[in-house]
Each structure stands twice: as C-alpha cells, then as structure tokens.
C-alpha cells in the first residue's frame, strides 16, 4: 500500500511530458530488436528468430543467449557426434580449424599442452562426474580466487523476479509468466471464446487495468497494490520501473530480459502493433502490464538484497577439465604460481563448450560444402545434348521442387526452371467470395495489387448459398456448444455422426478423406472463375484491384527475365505453384509456399500464366525483345508436395503443339509421381519395410488424421543455388537445395541478382534459420511435441497446460524420433554462379546481405566462369571491400 502512494507521488512529479514518452518509445523499439514479430499459425510463413540481431555476429548472439537465457544455439554434442558417426562431418576440418585457432591466439601456455587439452576437449565427452564431485577437487578450488576473466564487457540483466522464490519455492518469474500468458491469450483471442474478455475494446493495458483489481488469481494484497494503478501504459511502465529501482541506463536491457522471457507472446504483440494504428502501442502496453505485475508480485520482498553468487562451481569444472583432458598432474598444478594457474584456467574458459561446438558446426558446414562442390563439379559440362524442350516448367525455389524436377527431366525433353513461387507478383489474393485477402508474397514485402477471383453474378450467389449452408453447420455446432442448455444435448445429437467419421478416418483413412472432400466439392460445385487482372477504376479502400496495362507488361517481363526465359520458348510453359495436403495438422501452412506468405502458390501461378497469355502483353513484350511465339501457351498447375504430383488449375485453349506437350506430361506423370514418392517416402519413418504402392501410401500420409509427419517439409535444407540449371542438372541434391535460375551474362548491372538475394534469398535464409533454431533449441525456438500441443486463441500453439506462444517448428518436424535428429542444423550456403566481380559488387551495394555474410547468418560461395569454386569467408569480407574493420561481435 505504502508503495503505491509513494509511486503515485513520483509519477505525478515526473509529469508525463511528450519527450519522456518518445524517449520511452525509442527504448522499447530498441529493446524489441531481441524478439521477432510472430504471425498467426494459419499463415505460418517462416521467420528467423534472430531478425533484429544480424548486426551482431552469430557467435556473439550465441554467447549472449547462453548467458542471458541459458539457450544454446549450437548443435548439442550428441547431435554432432551422431552426425560424425553418419559421416556427415569430415574431421580434417575440425583439425584445421583447431590449428588455425591456436595459431591466431597466443597464450602463456606451452603449445603442446594447449593442443593436447583442445584435442581431448574436442571429443565432446562430458567430464567424469566422479572427478567433478571429488573432495580433492573441492579442496583445490577452495584455495582459488574468482577468475578475473574480464568478461564483464557485455551487460545483461535478468528480470528481478527470476532471483526470488516464494514460500513454496516457486520462482516468482514463473508465476509472473503464468499470469502474463493468461492475459495475453484472453486479450488476443480470435473469436474462440464464447465470452470475450470484458473491456477488450479499450486496449490491452486498459482492459487489464480495469480487471486486475478483481482477479482472484492474485492475493488480496496484490490486488490492493494495483488498485488505482495509472491509466496510461507509459505512466504505469515508468512507475513500475521506478518502483523496481531500475536506473535509466538499465531500462533497455531490463526490458530486453522481460521480452525474452516469453518471446512468442511478445512477438505476437509486436506483430499486432505493426498491423493497425489502433494497436500500435501494444508492445508498450504489454511491457506495462508485465512489469506492473512483476512489481505487484515482488514488492513484499523489497528492498532486494543484491547478492551475487560466486561461480566456484564453474571454476571447479575448468580445473577438472585440465586434470582430465589436459592430463595435468595434480602435483604440477600445485606447483604453479598464481598467475600460471590463472592462465590455465582462463585458457580453459575461453576454449569453452560453445567454442568447441562452434568448431564442429563449422566443420560440418564445410564438409557439406565440400561434398556439394564435388557433386556439382562432377556433373558439370557433361550435359552436351541440348534438344529443344517440349515444355518448360517453372517451379518454386522450394527445396522440395528439386527431386520432382529431377524425375521430370529424366522422363522426357522437359526443361525445368526455378524461381520464387510468388512469380514476382506483389499481390494480395482474394478467393472466390472471400472478403478477406491474403498477402501472397514473401512476408517482408508489401502487396501492391489485389487480385480477385470472380464468377458470374448469379452463379456466385448460388455458390455462396451452398457454401453458407456448409458453414451453417459449424456455426450451429459452435452456438450450441456455447449455450448452457443446448450444449447438454449436443453430444447426443452430433455423437453418432462424429463417431462415424472417427471410425472411417481410423480404418479407411484414404477413402474417408477422399469421400469427405469429394462430398464437399461435389456439393459446393465451384463455378468457373476469372481473375480481376485488369485495373478497375472503381476506387476501393486499400489496394488497387488488378494491374494497369503497363504494369502487366512490366511484371511479365521482369519475371520472365528472372526465370531466364526470354527466348527459345517451348510450345507449353507450365507455371507451377505448390501446395501441400495434410489432415488434422495445425502446421499445415508450414508445409505450403513460404514465398507466398504461407499459402498454396497456385493463385500466383495462375495470375502469372494468365498475364503471359494476354495478347496485349505479348505484343508489348515483343517491343522489348521478348518474343513469345503464337504457338506457346502458358498454363498453371500446382505441385502437391505431399503426394508429388501436378494438379492443373488453369488450362486455357491449347494450340496443337501445346496440346501434344500437355498430353505428354499427363502420360508420364504417374511414373514421375511414383518415383518421386518412392524416393521421398524412404526418408519418412515407416512401419513396413516394403512399400508396394508409394503413390497410394503418399496419399495415406496426406489423408490420415493421425499422421504426425505428413511430409518432411523443408527439413534438411542447407543450400541455395543461384545459377543455370546446367550447373546442377543430373545431380542428386537430395531435396536439400533451393534452386533459382540465374544467368549472370543476362544481368550486366546486377539488378536481377540483387533482387534474387533480397527477396527469395531472404525467404530461404529465414526458412533455413527457422529449421536451424527449431532443431538446436527445440524448447525455446521450436514448438515442442505435437502430441502435447493445444491450439490457443486461434493464433498459435502452447505446450501442456499453458506456455509461451510457441514460434517455430514442432519437434516431430525436425526429429525422426525422440533420439535421432532428421534435420541437420547447418546455416544456409548461398552459391551464386557469377564471376567474383559480380559478387563483390553485390556485397558492396547490399549492406544487409554483406552483414549477413560477415556475421555468419548465411554462408556464401560462388562458381566462377570456368567452374572454379570460391568460398567467401566471413572474415575476408571486410578486407575485400576495403572497409575499416569494425568490432564484429557488437
């Protein structure tokens, strides 16, 4: 109570001046760099959890996360050793890195002793526990002073509540998290609950401020202390920080510590704050709620005694590591001078667990690069035959396209092309009868146009009615569920139907799934649709609908150039988006097209194909030197990645030549599908050793509601190859590479390359880092086991009873079993086929990309004119560009 009154006085003294608010907003904006915005799971587009941290080096972020959150972002020793056993890591790279490291650092320790220590430590075996707990070690450590390692350079701050325990030995921060999770989910709920949170329309902070005084989850004293808490979030935040005695300079790190406690919920708040102006202060409100509650929880424990625990334990392990790995005799240790002992200990603390695993990770990555290089070089120049293709098929860069393309090329004279699956169209798509539109482009770009699917008025109306009739069932179900009396009858009414469905889905999953879908589609009978390609003069709110004439030509030209398809058109050009199909899978969107903002890519493919068929577009393209023969027809299809086949979604009237090509594709498709599925299913965990019908089994994977891994998605992705198809044609890249067509000779000014790197390159990097993070820190960056998830607020998933809103991929998407990882956590290797000058130019002009390479967020290699492979080491980037060398870790 007394705390409150003091507080009130303080806050009225520091009058909420405008500049104060701005300052606070700036601090919050800076602090929010440590989290990444998180969007709803229904449009699960990959995001890198370290978006705002690329200014720092990967290694720097790794040690910072270890220190502040105890989150380790290097692969675990177990994972590394498993990879080594499987032959994925060549030990020569480990040796090379060790020698390099020893050479580049100097220590007052004999080189041979240092090396012996490192060699033994690099075996990644844990120190024996009997040594660590031995009394002798304890005695030795007792004499030692604290290690003055001078690591105090980086300032980190934990929430105060993390160091206090209540009477029942529960840490206060856990209680705080529990409260915050509750408030977040109730506020953010996307119409799942029958009763929404009271006062929600007033905003997060205001609603909380009104409700908190009645919350029975708090004790009476705690409720009292928050009664009359400031009306404005900024004021409340300031008051709470002041009451917690956080000094001005500590505010940012303190807020960072809080944001990192529940990065998922905070990330969702951040995302929401970017969506609408009404909620733009949402992150401030979140912090105000969180820190006010923290104060309410800990103020009985104030003032806090600031006791630092001496890290004797870690000194013990440093010494133990010398005794064990360095084979240092105890007597020798005792004879050393203080300074010598310090030197030994500090050496061990520098060559720590993280550094050792960093060396291994880099060796793993180098081995991968080495093998990829050999593969590509051996396949190069052997493809001499150059028949004119019967059809050209453009696929998304998605790593799953690669095996499918390979099978397709084997079966006939088809040329395949890789390009980002949104086909360069910055559009928001709106399906037939939808009022809502989906930004169908990489998540970091903004849509410029809206494309609608249209149908004839009368037919549309009937279609809408049919659709409503289907929806009315689920509406009725929900309404009855939320009505006390009706909910009691609901199980008896719907039970028989649901059990029928349950039985069918359990015993004939494939047929049941197909039957239900056919029933639905048969009933809906979607009418034939057109697209609103032409610019509509009617002014609508928001995005313009359709393209202006010149825009159509521009987009068509730009994308054709991106594909490297400006001459030698085949009679049939197939534009393939991709989609996946899975049942009962909250992560369904994660298997869709990342370049289309986590949705199927068919719509974009259709728009692009339709654009290229427009006579006026073709005519204008001719003036710019792109001559599409009259014979050539563009069609659109969707590559269904779960069952590896093509579904036609837009086939206009075909010319004779195009028809022939079309028929040919149809004819070989079962074979392609069979082979692609057989190869893919071999990677998925199976209970039978022999699969007689891979295509049928793949359909089972798609339709079975109990299937936990409908497909592997993009797991094991590791490289992004930008270059001609000849470079990779015929080599089995195991579905681990994103492929983008690129011909540097057609790109004199480097604009194409720059846009590939900025758009698709970033998408690939985000996907890669998301898989990486979900594998190395599944509890923090992944989303845990699917079996114990619950969907919350219609936005995302939580684990168990409640948890952070989980951000990454589920455990089962990266692990083959609880014991064995499937994904190899390697940072993306970008391979560009272009001369060095071009790469240098790219690095010079694109500072974001330069930063990524320099700080180790992606790896870079290039293939030069004569097929010479060049590796661009992060530390060479600066010298190369003649830039003053800046501190890399900050």
């Amino acid at each position: 109570m007394s705390g409150t009154s003091v507080l009130m006085k303080e806050s009225s003294k520091t009058k909420d001046s405008q500049s104060d608010f701005q300052e606070m907003s700036a601090i919050i904006a800076a602090a929010s760099q440590v989290i990444a915005p998180l969007w709803p799971i229904s449009t699960f587009a990959a995001r890198s959890p370290w978006l705002g941290l690329e200014k720092q080096s990967f290694a720097g972020v790794a040690s910072w996360l270890k220190e502040t959150r105890d989150v380790d972002i290097y692969p675990s020793a177990l994972m590394i050793l498993a990879a080594k056993r499987k032959g994925e890591i060549d030990e020569k790279f480990v040796q090379r890195a060790l020698q390099q490291w020893l050479d580049s650092n100097s220590f007052p320790i004999p080189r041979d002793e240092a090396e012996r220590f490192c060699q033994a430590a690099l075996k990644l075996e844990p120190l024996p526990t009997e040594l660590l707990s031995s009394s002798k070690l304890e005695q030795l450590v007792a004499h030692l002073h604290e290690l003055n390692s001078g690591s105090g350079g980086k300032f980190t701050m934990q929430p105060l509540s993390s160091s206090i325990e209540n009477q029942s030995h529960e840490r206060l921060i856990n209680i705080l998290d529990h409260h915050i999770i509750k408030w977040c989910k109730l506020y953010l709920d996307d119409s799942q609950a029958g009763w929404t949170m009271p006062n929600r329309e007033k905003g997060f902070y205001r609603a909380w401020q009104r409700l908190i005084q009645y919350d029975p989850a708090l004790s009476k004293n705690q409720r009292q202390s928050l009664k009359g808490w400031p009306e404005k979030p900024q004021t409340a935040l300031k008051a709470a920080l002041l009451a917690l005695e956080i000094s001005e300079s500590e505010i940012q790190p303190y807020l960072e510590g809080h944001l990192l406690s529940l990065p998922g919920w905070a990330g969702m708040m951040l995302w929401r704050s970017q969506q609408s102006s009404a909620e733009q202060e949402l992150l401030t409100e979140y912090l105000a709620v969180r820190i006010s509650m923290e104060w309410a929880l800990i103020h009985p424990y104030m003032p806090l005694t600031n006791e630092r625990v001496a890290y004797k334990a870690s000194i013990a392990s440093l010494l133990a590591s010398w005794l064990h790995w360095g084979e240092l005799p105890m007597e020798e240790w005792l004879q050393m001078s203080d300074a010598q002992q310090q030197a030994y200990l500090s050496f061990a603390s520098i060559f720590d667990d993280q550094l050792r695993r960093k060396i291994w990770l880099e060796a793993w990555e180098q081995t991968h690069e080495e093998r990829l290089r050999q593969k590509m070089i051996s396949s190069q120049y052997k493809t001499g035959h150059k028949k004119t293709p019967l059809a050209q098929l453009a696929f998304c860069i998605d790593a799953r396209s690669e095996p499918f393309r390979r099978q397709l090329e084997k079966e006939g004279p088809f040329e395949t092309i890789g390009i980002a699956g949104f086909f360069g169209l910055p559009i928001a798509t709106s399906g037939l009868g939808h009022t809502h539109s989906h930004p169908s482009l990489p998540i970091m770009l903004k849509p410029q146009h809206k494309i609608r699917e249209l149908a004839e008025e009368h037919e549309l109306q009937l279609y809408q009615h049919r659709k409503q009739a289907v929806h009315s069932l689920s509406y009725t179900f929900k309404t009855m569920k939320q009505n006390v009396l009706a909910s009691l009858l609901l199980p008896e009414l719907s039970g028989p139907w649901l059990s029928l469905q349950m039985a069918a889905r359990s015993f004939v999953p494939r047929r049941a799934g197909r039957f239900l879908r056919n029933l639905r589609e048969g009933w809906l009978r979607k009418p034939n649709t057109e697209l609103s390609l032409h610019h509509d003069d009617k002014r609508e709110v928001g995005l313009p609908v359709g393209f202006a004439d010149q825009e159509k030509v521009n987009y068509a030209r730009q994308t054709l150039k991106m594909m490297g398809l400006t001459k030698n058109f085949a009679p049939l050009v197939v534009i393939c988006g991709h989609s996946s199909q899975s049942t009962n899978n909250p992560y369904a969107a994660a298997l869709d097209c990342g370049a289309c903002g986590g949705a199927a890519g068919g719509f974009n493919a259709r728009v692009f194909a339709a654009l290229c068929n427009l006579p006026e577009v073709r005519e204008n393209l001719t003036y710019e030197g792109i001559e599409i023969p009259d014979d050539t027809v563009f069609v659109a299809a969707e590559h269904r990645t779960t069952v590896d086949d093509l579904e036609w979604i837009y086939v206009p009237k075909l010319t004779e030549a195009a028809q022939e090509a079309f028929a040919r594709i149809e004819a070989i498709m079962p074979d392609v599908s069979h082979k692609a599925n057989a190869a893919r299913l071999a990677q998925l965990p199976q209970l039978q050793s022999q699969l007689k019908k891979p295509s049928a089994e793949a359909k089972r994977f798609a339709e079975d509601w109990s299937e936990i891994r409908p497909e592997w998605g993009l797991a094991r992705n590791a490289a992004f190859i930008i270059g001609k198809r000849e470079l990779t044609e015929g080599c089995d890249l195991e579905g681990r590479a994103f492929l983008h067509n690129y011909d540097w000779q057609e790109d004199a000014d480097g604009a194409l390359l720059a846009s590939i790197i900025a758009g698709p390159g970033t998408v690939a990097q985000w996907i890669n880092l998301q898989y990486y993070a979900s594998t190395v820190a599944p509890h923090y960056y992944g989303s845990g086991s699917k079996a114990t998830q619950t969907v919350t607020a219609g936005l995302g998933v939580m684990q168990g009873n409640a948890s952070d809103l989980l951000t990454g991929l589920p455990w089962q998407s990266v692990m083959a079993t609880d014991f064995e990882a499937y994904h190899s956590p390697l940072r993306l290797l970008i391979v560009i086929q272009a001369p060095s000058e071009h790469i240098e130019r790219l690095l010079k002009t694109d500072s974001t990309f330069r930063q990524k390479v320099r700080n180790g967020w992606v790896r870079l290699a290039s293939v030069e004119r004569e097929g010479h492979w060049r590796n661009w080491q992060p530390y060479t980037i600066n010298e190369l560009l003649n830039e003053p060398y800046k501190e890399r870790s900050e």
């Binding site: 856990n174 529990h178 809408q464 009858l489 168990g800 009873n801």
Partner: protein, 510 residues
C-alpha cells in the same frame, strides 16, 4: 440352457482374448520385439471388442455367470471402452511414432482399457474394486509417462492423489456394504431383503462414500483439478481419459441404483453436479485454448450425466455417457484441426426475418411440451423436454432462420430433420438394448426437479444477461473466476518445454 451355455462360452472366449491382448501389450515392451509388431498388436486388440459385440447381440437373459455380469449394460460398456481404446491405439500408431515411450503407451492403453472393461463386467464387489483400482492406476501411469517434464509429474501427482481418495472411498463403501449385508455379490447385497436391513444412516453413509468415489473421476467441483491439470497429457491419453474413464460414475450409480432413494446423498450429488454443469460450461465459454474448452465441456457434461443419475434416469445417463465419450474422443483426436485457415466468410444474415426466429421458438415450445406430455410423471422428462425444446429453437435459428436463400433454408431444414431422426433412432436403439438391465429408479420429488430446471435456466439467463452488460463489475468478477477455475496452477505450467533440451543433451536408451 442353450443361451447360458453360449453366454458362458462367449465369456470364456472373451476373457481369453482379453488376456491375449494384454500379453501382446506386454510382449511389445521388450526391446527385441521390432516396432513393426505394433501392426499385429492392433489386430489383436481388435478381437475383444468384436467378441463383446457378439455377446451384446446375444444377451437375452439378464443374468450373471459366476462373478460376472452378462447383461446388456455390462457388454455395452465393455464394447464401448474397448472400442474406444482400440480406435485410440490405432490413432497412436502414427501419431506417437518416434516417441521414446512408444511401446509403453500401447501396453498401458491395452491394460487400462482391459481393466476398465473387467470392472464393468464384475458382479463381485471385490473384483470391481480391484479392476477399477487397476484402471485408475493405469490412467495415472499414462498421464505420467513423460515424467521427465516436471509439469507432467505434477499433473500425475495431483491426479494420482485424487484417484487414491476416490478409490479408498469406494473400498470403504464396499467393505461397509459387505459388513451390513454379508454378501460380496452385488445383486445379493442389494437385494430387497438386504436393503431393508440397512439402517438409514448406514445407507446414507455408504451412499455418500459412493458419491465421493464417482464425482472424483467425473472431475466434479470441487474435485475438478486433476482434469484441469492433465491437459498436459498427450492427445490420445486425453482422448481415452475424457471418453472412457471420466464417465465411470454413470455406470457405477446405475449398478448401485437400488441403494439410492432420494436421500441426502442424492441431494449432495445433485448440488455438486449442478454446480459443475455451470462451472464446466462457464470454463468452456471463457477459455480460448482448444483442449481447455474441451475440459470445461467434459466437466459440464459429466455433471449432467450425474444429474440424470440422481433423478433416476439411468438409461438416459448411460446413453449420454456413451455418446459423449464418442463425441469427446473425436474432438480430442481432431484437435489439430482447430486452426482455421483464413477466416470463414463473414456472418450469415443475422437480420433474418424475425418471423422465422419466432417460428423456431414456437416450435421449440411445442416440441418441448409434447415431449414432456409423453411421460409427464417422470421427473427427468421435464428436464429433457426443456433441453430438447431449447436446443430445437437454437438450432432452428442457426440453420433455418439464418439460412441464406432457398438453398440455405432447405439444407438447414434437412440437417435439422436428419439430426432429429437419427437422434430418435439412436435413443430407441439404446432403450431397446438396455430395457432388460436391472436398475431401480426412484422418482425424485417434483420440487427437486424444478430446482434443477431452474438452475439450468439460471445458467442460460446469466449468459443472456451478460451479453447486454459486458462492462459490469459482476461480469468482470464472474469472468475472472471462471478463468481461474479453468487454469492450471503455476506449478503445472512451464513457459517452455525445457525437457526437450535434456533429450538433446542426454539422449537416452532406445
């Protein structure tokens, strides 16, 4: 003679099959047995429910064989529990693939559902107590399987303690009953001669113990915590818990029906179950987590089932518990589908002609009154009529009145008609099946029935009132209380599933 012979041979075959499936579950535990054995195991597990269907269609004498019940209620419950168990095991084959406790899940599923089915077959008090204890143990072990995660062991602890209390209460009641009647056979212990011997306070004591024993597994207030905390269990475990085990109370009360005669125990049961209906519905109204909504709904539905029992509508309770079990199992298993991809198109025309809505209300009243008049003497009929009339009115509004265009309305009409038809048919089927079951229902006093009806109406009224008074303090307090009742304790919450990190660092033995 012939009938009883086939029955006893069926019984023997059933027991053999059940033992084989249990053994198969145990064999699968051995690490030498390949994982693909699970496909064989699933077929073996399918056998006992098949036999029970056979038995179910063959019962004519509502008899007993030795210590076993062989009437239709027993076989129906056996079939229900085993079939749900079988479906959930089939689901787990793919769903849990790769889990470190993969084998143990199947063993425990088999043993737990096997024990539950034996409990419902038992006509001997000792056997029933024994098998029900085994079932509860099995369930606790299932919840506890991933105990390396601290929140899981916490949930298992909470559940285990409450189950123990429930079981001890049952044991005490049974021993007391034996003391009073000198019989271990349930039917003899509850025979009219023996019942007369029971003193009033003795009877009330036994009844109260039985009530305590059944409301705990049914997660009734104030013993609902275990169900709230065990949301942490994997989806298939939740499915079996909500579908097959929480509803044990309905069966037990039916078996012990001669004991209950509207005394203090019935009233206690009625009060607790009534409160639970309101709390459970409230939790599912305010919660936003899919699985937690289902938990709230289960608490409410089980409350309703117990109300039915307390009002003597035992067959209705059995029907409700079976259909609810299937309903809840399906909803849990498809909990992965709770994410909507993009919004469903906006709301249908709410401005629908008021006349259509009024017509729905009138129809609801007519149907309700008509239903009530079918058997106005039975207390439960009134409640049932109320619910049916109300539901009809609600679903009419949604399906027909809000239906868009002629298509919408006619489809809505069809759905409504179809659902009603199936509802009537299913109920008829169940009544046919269960009519031979021996139970005694005492008609509750009308006043009690009316109080229950008012309680339910009160719940609906609060809902309607709140829709208009969103910003009242009363709503804020009610809302926050319901949220609190539905939330797990802070101890059972982990902000990140940190056990996975242990998996990565320590690995384990495969």
């Amino acid at each position: 003679m012939f009938v009883s012979l086939t029955m006893s041979s069926l019984m023997i075959i059933f027991l053999i099959m059940l033992i084989i499936s249990g053994l198969s579950g145990l064999v699968f535990l051995h690490p030498r047995v390949p994982i693909s054995f699970v496909r064989v195991h699933i077929w073996i597990v399918a056998l006992p429910p098949l036999i029970s269907v056979l038995a179910l269609t063959n019962t004519s004498a509502n008899g007993q064989i030795g210590p076993w019940y062989t009437d239709s209620l027993a076989w129906l419950m056996v079939f229900f529990v085993l079939a749900i168990g079988f479906i959930i095991q089939r689901f787990s084959v793919r769903y849990l693939l790769g889990d470190r406790a993969y084998r143990k899940y199947f063993t425990l599923f088999t043993l737990t559902t096997g024990a539950a089915s034996m409990a419902w077959l038992s006509a001997d008090l000792r056997l029933m107590v024994l098998f029900w204890g085994a079932t509860l143990t099995g369930l606790t072990l299932l919840i506890r399987l991933n105990h390396e995660w601290k929140v899981v062991s916490e949930a298992a602890k909470v559940s285990g303690r409450l189950f123990l209390l429930s079981w001890l209460s049952l044991v005490l009641a049974m021993v007391w009953l034996f003391q009073a009647s000198g019989q271990w056979q349930l039917s003899s212990a509850l025979s009219i001669e023996n019942l007369v011997l029971l003193g009033n306070w003795e009877r009330a004591g036994i009844n109260l113990l039985i009530v305590l024993a059944v409301i705990i597994p049914a997660a009734q207030w104030p013993f609902h915590r275990w169900l709230i905390e065990s949301v942490v269990a994997p989806t298939p475990v939740s499915a079996i818990m909500h579908a097959g085990l929480v509803n044990a109370g309905g069966i037990m009360l039916t078996r012990f029906s001669p004991l209950f005669n509207g005394d203090i125990a019935s009233i206690t049961l009625l009060i607790l179950a009534g409160i639970s209906v309101l709390i459970g519905s409230g939790i599912s109204l305010v919660q936003v987590d899919y699985k937690r909504q289902l938990v709230g709904s289960t608490i409410g539905q089980m409350g309703f089932m117990l109300i039915q029992c307390a009002l003597g509508a035992y067959i209705a309770a059995i029907i409700h518990l079976i259909l609810h079990g299937l309903f809840k199992a399906t909803l849990f298993l498809q909990s992965g589908s709770a994410v909507r991809r993009f919004e469903v198109s906006n709301r249908i025309n709410e401005r629908a002609s008021y006349l259509w809505i009024l017509a729905g209300r009138a129809l609801g009243i007519v149907a309700g009154v008509a239903f009530w008049l079918m058997a106005p003497g039975e207390g439960y009929q009134l409640i049932s009529a109320l619910i049916i009339g109300w539901s009809l009115s609600v679903s009419w509004t949604q399906l027909v009145a809000f239906g868009e265009g002629r298509i919408g309305r006619s489809v809505g009409f069809l759905f409504l008609g179809g659902a009603a038809l199936v509802y009537v048919m299913i109920h008829h089927l169940f009544y046919e099946l269960l009519q031979t079951t021996a139970f005694q229902s005492v008609q509750p006093p009308m006043a009690v029935v009316i109080i229950v009806a008012c309680l339910l109406l009160f719940g609906s009224a609060i809902g309607a009132w709140i829709a208009r008074n969103q910003s009242s303090v009363f709503f804020a307090v009610l809302y926050l209380w319901l949220v609190k009742l539905g939330e797990a304790k802070a101890k059972s919450v982990d902000s990140h599933p940190s056990y996975l990190e242990q998996y990565l660092q320590k690995g384990g033995n495969q």
